[in-house]
């Protein structure tokens, strides 16, 4: 299957949006494009699995190469393995949902959908790129749309948050760039990931470059202490944007940290692993505790995202096959779950015009559907079996526990402890905002979800449950590649 399609579809969608005038047509265009993309993603998944069944053992499938800047060793080089397919699938789902959720967007709708599509395009390109240059290209391609989405359509202190987000993400990618150039120079002028993987950089070089690449991507996935863009950014962003932000863009970081840092610089990864684990444990527990104190629903979810992405980092840092698999699962799961959560918050906010849990209350009575969606999202994020979160977190725990020494054990226990704190703040938030007596008179006549919201939520919930009930399909998809990465470590 031709991977360039994954870029052509959004591109043509964007062009279509530019040409069209009426917002109705534009959003239709966007929806159609994203749904085609989802179809493509599923087709890709099937094609991949059939190819594997037919015994194709090459590391990356459906490779596509085109010399772009030959004299600099820069090329368009695409290819996918299980991990990237999982991410592509996630992206496609979230994009469809996000576009459906912003169906009513009237103010400058054209620009809005255009930016959404561009953002998604950046993600797709990032996940299929095997060339560090084009990967970096797509990584930065996604930054400015985020900025504009937040700054123009956001709420609250949107400009501050948008600037902060853009700058911190840019800083992250700047670090990544330094690391990449270092690898490029030492590996003999190549940006090709597969060649770099064979290059075996000397340990000193790895030690020098690893922090840049890892922390750079860490900023994207809100690693402590570079996570502060996340709460402000998420809370100021419009619904779809925060869905994309938390659902897709934070995953760029995790994916990059796993692929570019750990896989390409394995020895350094082992060297720095304790540090990573410490950071991750801090992020997990500290994020959770910080969440307990938040009053704003979006802040709650944003901080919980920090805590949940801590699991991704932890899984990566633990460097066992299971934990890495768990990290990818967690990325997938967190993407869907947090997107759903933000969607629910957005729906509430549209209607009640407040996100302060103090002011909300008793909404279950007037908007049962939305409240149920929020409940499901909440239960998923506190790791209830039957939802994706449980599977992912348990896999991470299991993988972490495989390292038998006290340090790793303690870190794992700290991480486990977070499930209690998570329960506390999730229930606090849900209880205060949805249950109890109705706080505000005008809540009594608020409408429940509309068709597009229902479809979108259903899509997300179904995919969450698909992972929650039958994790094995994704697990089997990821494990081989996780194994590959761990083998690179020489374990």
């Amino acid at each position: 299957m031709n991977l360039t399609l994954l870029l052509l579809v959004p591109l043509s969608t964007a062009l279509g949006i530019i040409l069209l005038r009426d917002v109705k047509h534009i959003r239709l265009m966007a929806a159609i494009g994203s749904i085609c993309q989802l179809g493509l993603a599923i087709k890709l998944l099937l094609a991949y699995q059939t190819a594997r069944l037919l015994g194709d053992t090459s590391q990356m499938l459906f490779q596509f190469k085109y010399a772009w800047y030959p004299s600099l060793g820069i090329q368009w080089h695409f290819g996918v393995d299980g991990i990237s397919i999982a991410m592509i699938l996630l992206t496609a789902i979230v994009v469809v949902a996000g576009i459906l959720f912003s169906w009513k967007m009237s103010f400058q709708g054209k620009e809005f959908f255009l930016l959404l599509v561009l953002l998604s395009m950046g993600a797709y390109g990032f996940f299929i790129s095997l060339d560090l240059f084009s990967l970096f290209f797509f990584l930065e391609l996604a930054v400015i749309p985020k900025y504009l989405l937040i700054a123009i359509w956001g709420s609250g202190k949107k400009e501050y948050s948008a600037t902060k987000l853009a700058l911190m993400l840019m800083g992250g990618s700047a670090l990544v760039l330094v690391g990449f150039l270092g690898m490029y120079e030492y590996a003999g002028k190549t940006f090709d990931m597969l060649q770099l993987a064979q290059a075996h950089l000397p340990l000193e070089v790895q030690k020098l470059l690893f922090p840049f690449v890892f922390m750079g991507f860490g900023v994207f996935t809100a690693i402590f202490p570079f996570h502060t863009w996340a709460p402000d950014g998420h809370s100021s962003a419009p619904t779809a944007a925060s869905m994309f932000l938390a659902g897709i863009s934070m995953k760029l970081g995790g994916y990059g940290a796993l692929r570019m840092a750990v896989y390409l610089m394995p020895e350094a990864a082992q060297y720095y692993s304790p540090l990573i684990i410490i950071l991750a444990s801090i992020a997990i527990l500290y994020g959770a505790f910080a969440t307990m104190m938040q009053k704003d629903l979006k802040y709650i979810n944003a901080y919980s995202s920090v805590s949940h992405c801590g699991f991704v980092i932890l899984g990566i840092g633990m460097l066992t096959r299971t934990s890495v698999t768990g990290a990818v699962l967690q990325m997938f799961s967190h993407g869907l779950m947090t997107a759903l959560f933000f969607a629910a918050i957005g729906m509430l906010y549209e209607r009640s015009h407040t996100r302060q849990i103090g002011e909300l209350g008793g909404l279950m009575k007037t908007m049962p559907f939305i409240s149920c969606v929020m409940f499901i999202a909440g239960l998923c994020s506190l790791g209830l079996p039957g939802f994706s979160g449980f599977v992912a977190e348990m896999t991470v725990f299991m993988g972490s526990w495989e390292n038998a020494d006290t340090f790793h054990r303690v870190a794992t226990i700290i991480a486990c402890a977070s499930i209690v704190v998570t329960a506390v703040y999730i229930l606090r938030a849900l209880g205060a905002s949805l249950l109890g007596p109705i706080k505000n008179e005008h809540f009594n006549h608020l409408a429940d979800a509309t068709w597009n919201e229902k479809i979108a939520s259903a899509l997300l919930i179904v995919s969450i449950m698909a992972l929650g009930f039958a994790p094995f399909w994704l697990n089997n998809l990821i494990t081989p590649d996780a194994t590959l990465i761990i083998h690179a470590l020489g374990k």
Partner: protein, 475 residues
């Protein structure tokens, strides 16, 4: 060399300069003929001629040496001249609106083209004397141009600042040249490069000459004139200063360092490192707080100069290529920005950032053009600026000087901050009466379309870079 006295070859080698001379003559006669008002045909005619001049520059076979090595032309130099010519053409097109109600429009174009010619000679100089003449030819008219808004205080102030400080700097430069002459006994580049002996006098000469270049390229701490001059000068002149003269000087510097001072590569690498680092940083810090867009663009161009030096420090074919490539991209991006600015200030006289609040409301297309140009300056994909900047850094990374890389990378972040400030003003913030819808005349439209096309597409056609690379390999 062999066919030196063959007229055809002579014409071929100097084709570009001769072309410019022809245009100048046309203008002169037009000036003589013209009565009350210049004929409407003149402007388009000159534009077409300039276009021709640009087009002939891009075929990479005008190569050769004249006047016993005083004049050298290589494909790469031809390319560079073409790029400068393209920039000048765009600037002339953008200047149309401003010139329409200016009584000395012909002189303006004349001076502009004279300057361009000086720069062409500068690039082709193979001899310090030639080099000095070309330099002055490309400086003195600029000062006159800065003063072109005769009645504006700031215009004449900027002209004064330019002429005085450039006189000073060329004095220093000349002192360096004289030392170089004293040390090596020759004015010819090639002979000079052959007869270095590593005396301190040579190093001193290098530094004096470098500082002369640094002045024109606006490298900290030789840059202070830039902001004031840019702010005061008429917008087309500012554009010219920030793009063309900077470009010409950086090309000349490439020749100077790679060809003449090749023996001192180790030394000037350090110079470039320090100069580039402080230039980027200070340029950014100054740009952060600017309120006037021209001034702001001045400082941003200082920062870009820092990146150019970074690429130059690569000391390799990649270095030269990346510099040329970046200048091409930089012309598109910067002239895109200046084009919009020129239109706005010609129509309303507003040049402050806060005037642009809510600009999107009435001028969506123009604001996208502006935003794209700024993103390109900031080096954000998918604009060409991203590629230009990345190639500069990649070329500079060849020494793998870690602190250098980190400084460069972090400065990209700082610069993003203030570029976003302008973008935010246009797209995000609102004000009660935003600027009215601004009419875009034909020529300006062409210029903007070219700029936007360049900004959006250049990066995706690797062939451009590869072509320059092949040229610069022989360089």
């Amino acid at each position: 060399m062999l066919l030196e006295n063959n007229l055809l070859n002579f014409l071929l080698v100097m084709l570009q300069e001769l072309g410019l001379t022809a245009i100048l003559i046309v203008l002169l006669f037009a000036k003589l003929m013209e009565g009350e008002k210049t004929s409407p045909m003149l402007y388009p005619l000159v534009m077409v001629l300039l276009l021709g001049h640009v087009l002939i520059s891009f075929d990479g076979n005008t190569t050769g040496m004249l006047f016993s090595g005083m004049y050298v032309n290589t494909p790469l130099i031809g390319m560079e001249k073409g790029i400068l010519g393209l920039g000048t053409l765009l600037i002339c097109l953008q200047a149309g609106t401003w010139l329409k109600n200016h009584k000395h429009s012909t002189e303006f174009i004349m001076l502009l083209i004279a300057t361009l010619m000086g720069m062409d000679y500068l690039l082709s100089a193979g001899n310090l004397l030639m080099f000095y003449l070309a330099l002055e030819l490309s400086t003195i008219p600029l000062a006159a141009l800065c003063n072109f808004d005769l009645e504006k205080r700031r215009s004449s102030e900027s002209a004064m600042k330019l002429i005085l400080s450039s006189a000073f700097s060329s004095g220093i430069l000349l002192f360096g040249i004289s030392m170089l002459y004293g040390a090596t006994g020759s004015l010819n580049f090639i002979e000079i490069s052959r007869s270095f002996m590593g005396t301190e006098m040579e190093m001193l000469a290098l530094i004096f000459i470098f500082s002369g270049f640094a002045f024109k390229i606006a490298v900290v701490p030789f840059h202070f004139w830039t902001a004031d001059v840019y702010e005061g000068a008429p917008i087309p002149v500012t554009a010219f200063l920030s793009v063309i003269s900077k470009g010409a000087m950086i090309f000349a510097l490439t020749t100077m360092l790679y060809k003449v001072f090749g023996a001192y590569a180790a030394m000037w690498y350090n110079i470039l490192f320090v100069a580039s680092a402080i230039t980027m940083t200070l340029g950014n810090l100054f740009a952060m707080r600017q309120m006037n867009i021209k001034r702001f663009l001045a400082f941003s161009s200082i920062t870009q100069a820092g990146y150019l030096l970074l690429g130059l420090s690569g000391a390799s074919a990649e270095g030269a290529t990346s510099v040329v490539y970046f200048m091409l991209v930089y012309i598109f991006s910067n002239l895109g920005a200046f084009g919009v600015l020129a239109l706005v200030s010609a129509a309303t006289g507003k040049e402050e950032i806060h005037d642009f609040k809510g600009f999107y409301k009435n001028n969506p297309v123009l604001s996208w053009v502006f935003a794209l140009s700024l993103f390109s300056l900031a080096g954000i994909p998918p604009t060409a600026g991203f590629f230009g900047k990345l190639f500069l850094i990649t070329a500079g990374a060849s020494r793998f000087n870690m602190p250098f890389l980190v400084i460069a990378a972090l400065n990209m972040v700082i610069s993003l901050f203030y570029y976003l400030k302008v973008v935010r003003a246009m797209l995000v913030e609102q004000q009660d009466e935003p600027l009215p819808t601004i009419a875009v005349p034909f020529y300006a439209r062409i210029a903007l379309v070219v700029c936007v096309a360049g900004v959006l597409l250049t990066g995706f056609f690797g062939q451009i870079y590869e072509y320059i690379h092949t040229l610069s390999l022989g360089f």
